[in-house]
Amino acid sequence: MRSPEDDKWLDEALSEIIGSEETRADFEQWKQNHPQAVEMLTSRACGEAHASPRLRKIGRIIMKSSITRAAAAAAIAIACLAGLFLLKSTGSGIALAEVLERIEQVTAYRCQMSAKIKSQGMDEKPISQATMLTSEAFGAKTIIEISNPITGQSILQEIYVLLSQKTITTLMPNEKKYSQLEFDEASFDGWREENDSRTMIRRILGCEHTNLGRSTIDGIEVEGFQTTDPNGPMGQAEIKIWVDVETRLPVQIEIHKDAGDDAYIHFVVHDYQWGVTVDATDFEPVIPDDYTPGQPMMQMLRGKKPNSQ
């Protein structure tokens, strides 16, 4: 087959068929049509100008700016939330039990994660962003960008978990390296349990949790629940789950891990797309020919190298 890049005709056809008759952005018209929205915005000028309080006290360093540690922290968030499907519900709560039940009906979902860190002498800074695709049948794929909060330098990793082979493959495009690890049955099952979104919800069900009431996230009416989980993978952390009141599926999960003295790390998992269609090829890593074996950064990816038979 010819490369699509060579197919000028396809470019032309797509431009012709998809191309717009130039959409006009008319803000004046929009303002006239939406006076209440304008009012809401302009009222912020006097009402909420001070809405972002500066954190005054300098905290102790959480991670001493090591990019490896930042990566490990990001990995914990993935471990909490990226999720494979494994557990059966034994939850006894009311609304969250319903959420768990709904999640168990989903066979695949996509979500995004972002993490920020605040430490000594440093304003809050982003340290990682990830897109995660999870399937009960096939495994999980995570594309994560990890930033060093001091230098701003970032690296990209693609992590593929193949359930059928019990392997984790990591591609490191910046270094043109890859790693492949395989797990024995027991450690893989343990890893799966820790990486199941439902584990998080079960833990919240097992803790005291409070209802945060209703709110709106990205246009969706949500209801929130909050707890602090002393037995969670991050130790005592404040966890909030925001659930779509209509679908009863999570819209956003926030984890705030306080390290004292105003130092913290904050994870948000958002933009969930529940019940997406996937196929096996979505989870199969393609290792480019010029990649050489390397060592993955993430602590969670420890395992043994596959037998080279």
């Binding site: 929009w30 304008v38 920020k116 960008e145 269609t277």
Partner: protein, 177 residues
Amino acid sequence: MDLNSETQLVEAAQNGHLESFGALYERYHSPMVALAYSMLADRSLAEDAAQEVFVIACRDIGSLKSKERFAAWLAGICRNISRQMLRAGKSRGIAPDNEPAVVRRGDAEDRREAIRRAVWSLREPERELIIMRYFDGFSQGQISEVLGLSSQAVNGRLVRAKRKIAKYLKRKRFDGK
């Protein structure tokens, strides 16, 4: 794109500065129409969705913590609104491929229809990319910002998506000849 100035615009809008919000509107209206169109397959509904995106953005912009991720945040709102519109049955989307919906109208029309179907047979992330790329000729940088992907990822996915479209058309016996 000058990210700093965009961050400043977002911050000013968060403080109630309408003109700054207007500048963001001008900048992202068209990408939001394209994004909504990729889900709704209807230009007029996509325009409605984009209007609504900015109503919600107006209301919730104070809650946006990562000012540098304004475009991706807006895209998230747009996807949610479009999904709600789909759930509410406002769009029928493109007829599934197994429906005998293609009426023979001559080669050119058939080919147009086949290409439309090829695009809408792509999975959502790929379809978003293709529509963003060809809807209004957005640059790779703009697409990357709105979809929250690296330029590398945008490029790779575009190539893969186009390859799938070409394959689909070949299967249906349409090509560039």
